[in-house]
């Protein structure tokens, strides 16, 4: 039996699973709207090549197994893997600041893959591009990470600064230090309290959920676009529910109780 109070939740997840399955079977391939920020990554890497300065990337701090920060970290790493691929194919140096010790192995694997996709030999990949600083998963606060990355950016003077992942306020410091070095900045996070800072401070802002679209957006795999389409269907359902309720409630009918089961 389904646990009480979780029926609607379950139906919804089941619906999404079925939807993705059905969409994956179809031959129809949805076309995905352009996300300017992802094209900004290309521009940023290109600028780093021109200026002969490195690209700095960070997925923020947090733990892979934690609520919310885990998915955001994976989304950030997907974007970073793409940017690293661009850097590798243009032979431009890059630095990755990690604040999550459990993500080191994953990052290492992703970077090897990026080098291979970019057509470089795995021997050319130098694991020391991954700089680790104790972050939220280790000491419960991101301040040591922030402090070290500030120093790193002030010394290495990156031409571009890519920040995608879980951030908890430290991005204001990272953005300002990078701005002082004249870096072009791209940022995005899942935390609603922190989105505004990125929107105000970065040149290209990956807004909210767009960070989760990264992998799908940059890959040529048509299934990925179908996953995005499934998300769109759910969003349209949300819009429909809200508008439907607005109409019905004026007529004195309530659909709210059905969603609270």
């Amino acid at each position: 039996m389904i646990i009480q109070g979780r029926v609607v939740d379950f139906l919804f997840v089941a619906f999404l699973f079925v939807l993705t399955y059905v969409l994956a079977r179809l031959t129809w391939i949805p076309s995905i709207r352009k996300i300017a920020a992802f094209d900004g990554i290309k521009e940023a890497v290109g600028r780093a090549v021109e200026m002969g300065r490195p690209v700095h990337m960070t997925p923020g701090t947090g733990s892979l197994n934690a609520n919310e920060s885990g998915p955001a970290l994976i989304a950030g790493l997907a974007t970073i893997a793409y940017a690293a691929e661009l850097c590798a194919s243009m032979k431009t140096p890059f630095i990755i600041s990690l604040g999550s010790s459990d993500a080191i192995a994953l990052t290492d694997q992703l970077l090897r893959q990026s080098f291979m996709v970019a057509g470089r030999s795995p021997e050319e990949y130098d694991p020391s591009v991954i700089r680790y600083f104790p972050g939220r998963d280790t000491i419960g606060s991101s301040l040591a990470f922030t402090n070290s990355v500030q120093g790193l950016m002030a010394r290495e003077k990156p031409a571009a600064n890519l920040m995608v992942g879980p951030f908890y306020g430290e991005q204001i410091a990272l953005c300002e230090v990078a701005a002082k070095e004249g870096a072009i900045q791209i940022g995005g996070t899942q935390s609603t309290t922190q989105i505004s800072i990125f929107a105000a401070l970065t040149d290209y802002h990956i807004i909210g959920e767009e960070i989760f679209a990264a992998g799908a957006y940059v890959s040529k795999d048509p299934t990925q676009a179908k996953m995005i389409a499934a998300e769109d269907v759910a969003k349209i359902i949300a819009i429909a529910l809200i508008s439907l309720n607005a109409l019905l409630i004026m007529l004195g009918l309530r659909i709210l109780p059905f969603l609270q089961v």
Binding site: L16, A78, I104, L110, S128, N147, T192, G208, I211, A234
Partner: protein, 211 residues
């Protein structure tokens, strides 16, 4: 076989664990099964704790290489880093986290550094205001207007100009801002769910399966 060990089995493991966790969350199952599945999150907590060693090793490896190379302007600081790390670990593991010595080091070294790194955000937000809040275009103008309205309503200055300023600020935060953030929350939630499905199906690029 080797490909199975390297790729397929980890991928299958991911899907299996995810499925087990979903099923135990939604369905009423015998407590023996629930207890067994509850082992998984606790296992992963231990893995994350052990992973700190991987982090420490990565950090040490980099700094030891700086010291070996006698990197100008860097290696001396790497020694400082190593020494403070050693001091903390020796005192912490030797005398325990509740000892006097440990809390002395904690309060003299770690607390001022973290408090100051945090407090510096005051200067960074100030320079961000100066640098960013400029009318460069229509969108920037909208951002500037709402930012100034909220700032005025938070400080006494707005109130001196007009008594109702604080009301404007709180209206902006409770109506339009809240509405936008609610929509963003819905979208981000969906993004996370779909990402979860991608991971479980082995289709997420940020995870091994994506290629």
């Amino acid at each position: 076989m080797s490909n199975a060990l390297r790729r397929s089995i980890p991928r299958a493991l991911t899907s299996l664990i995810g499925l087990l966790l979903i099923v135990t969350y939604f369905f009423q199952l015998p407590s023996s099964i629930v207890d067994a599945v509850n082992f998984i999150p606790r296992f992963s907590v231990v893995i994350v704790a052990v992973a700190v060693g991987v982090g420490a090793f990565t950090l040490l490896k980099y700094h030891v290489s700086l010291i070996r190379k006698r990197e100008p302007g860097r290696w001396i600081y790497s020694i400082v880093m190593l020494l403070s790390l050693l001091l903390f670990v020796i005192v912490g593991l030797g005398t325990g986290v509740n000892s006097e010595a440990f809390s002395w080091i904690y309060n003299a070294l770690l607390v001022p550094c973290s408090a100051t790194t945090y407090a510096m955000w005051c200067f960074f937000i100030a320079s961000a205001c100066f640098r960013i809040l400029r009318v460069r275009g229509k969108q920037a103008a909208v951002l500037l207007i709402s930012a100034i309205l909220v700032m005025l309503s938070n400080a006494a200055l707005g109130e001196l100009l007009w008594v109702n300023f604080p009301l404007i600020g709180s209206w902006i935060q409770t109506v339009p801002m809240m509405a936008v953030f609610r929509a963003l929350t819905i979208g981000i939630g969906l993004g996370m769910i779909l990402q979860g499905i991608r991971v479980l199906l082995g289709r997420e690029r940020g995870y091994f399966g994506g290629s």
